[in-house]
Amino acid sequence: MGKSLYPDRVDYLPIHDRPKIIWPGKAKIALWVAPNIEHYEYTPETSYGRDPWPRVPHTDVREFSYRDYGNRVGFWRMLDSMDRYRIRCTVSLNMAVLEHFPEIGRAIVDRSWDIMSHGIYNTRYMYGMTDDDEMRFYRDNIDTLYEHTGKKLKGMLGPACSETENMPDLMAKSGLIYTADFLHDDQPVPINVQTGKLVSVPYSVELNDHVLFTASFDGDVFVRRCIDQFDRLYSESSQSGRVMCIPLHPFLIGQPHRIKYLDKVFQYISRYKGVWQTTADEIAEYFIEHYYDDYVERAISLKKNFTHAG
């Protein structure tokens, strides 16, 4: 039996009792926008612990092609919005997209966006990987990204949000500095690993277009959630800087009936000063450089001061 996620992996520290974060330029909110650019295999293996196309015997052209729409059409429409509002994204990327659809890779590199891994394919999950498999998996991710973009890989959101028990240790061992698979906070949080330093840069399933639009919610709800989230975090940031993540999927947000709602969100946020519109790579680096050690020290002292008698 390995480490338990709580309390072993993450030391407890309540949000109001941490080093005060001030983002670059004295910004209040670090905003990262994370389009998931994915490729789902037409005839995937089913041996990865989850059936990617559970609706019908494989293949499922409807579901496959619906997602492929994101790469053929939705991505390019979404790109217009990003360019209009000068958003620098953190792409959550299935690395094989660089090989199948290099035009997308070039559009990302041309804009100096950052890229975190989202695995190789969205139909190859991490469940059941051995440690050796997983180390090879990170090597593959690092090498593929470098080969096609010249960029160094710094973080990951597990493929289709799949994970393994030793993931944080093995990520850190491979030289990565952040994971986006933790939804536990409004700030970066140190994750305990065997070697090196790893932080979580929390992603969101609450503002996530996939979660909203595959339920009964419409564009107005998406806009309302993003604005309310922004307003609340902005007002709380007088205590300490906050992080806000807007996760997107081009096959959903890039639909003709939906893209204007993304524009509305950016229109609203662009009126505010004090927003550090940045990437997860930069948030992780900044946090590690300025706040990591202080955070860990406080967490250790909280553990000492708050133990049950006996």
């Binding site: 993450v10 407890y12 949000i15 989850r50 698979d181 939804l183 979660v211 309310d228 609340r232 709380e236």
Partner: protein
Amino acid sequence: MPANRKYGMDHPHHSWSPLPSRTCLRWPNGANLAICIIINLEHEQWEIPPNSYVASNLAGGLSPRPWPDYMRITHREYGHRVGVFRVLAALEKANIPPTIAIDSATARMYPYLIKYCRDKGAEFIAHGTSVNSMVTSRMSYRTETKYIRETMDALIEFTGETPRGWLGPEFGESEHTPQILGELGFRYVCDWPNDEQPYMMTVPTGEISSLPIMLELDDVNAMWDRKITVKNYAKMLIDAFDRMYLDGLDNGRLLVLNLHPWLIGQPFRIGYLEKALAHVRSKKGVWAATGSEIIEWYREQS
């Protein structure tokens, strides 16, 4: 056992009692509505103990995924790290004392939260061992007694008080639960969402009342299971409050609201709770109290 076709309930745990047949209940100072807010502090275990039953609709993350499900566990942990402080501040502002349903895993691992909640005037009630270990009819009488006893002992150890109330994780009960709770000396149970007033349970040993939660107003039931927007959720809270307030003029009502900080404590949601609670506090004749205060008052009246 199938029901017998005769008058009254088809189980022995409480009697049938249509609301209009009851005598008038008044809360302290003649209040017509009592409000109680139960905040659930729940731990989702990394590895599920053998023979545990996990509710198929257990909320969080992206809905159930293969192990290890980081997203669901960390989504819920958000409540302990961030959300609960927003929720407690909202209650404090509305002058409503919190009733905290805490499981033994959380009580053991988060001494900071125990102290923080106690400083806010909270009453702790027992909430099982963890959210992914429910009470169900698959437990034997002995196993269930041991499970409830363990939860109770953990709360005594970690909060320093004997819990008077019980809420099963995910409202889980067997056919024996009220009896076991009575034997162990609990004063009230919150698993039965069927009324707008407290009522007595029928148990062989002890004296136990029901403190009924309004299930549709539970944040997880409304916004996770039924996908209601938070704006409509707040409207529903206010609508329910207004009607119960009015009906309470004839016979006092009880609004028990069950909240989960990982959900309602999200930045984009909390403002709507604050708005609804501000509405509640703008009215006279509302008594905000903990579960025990409500049950003890009710018992003195009846």
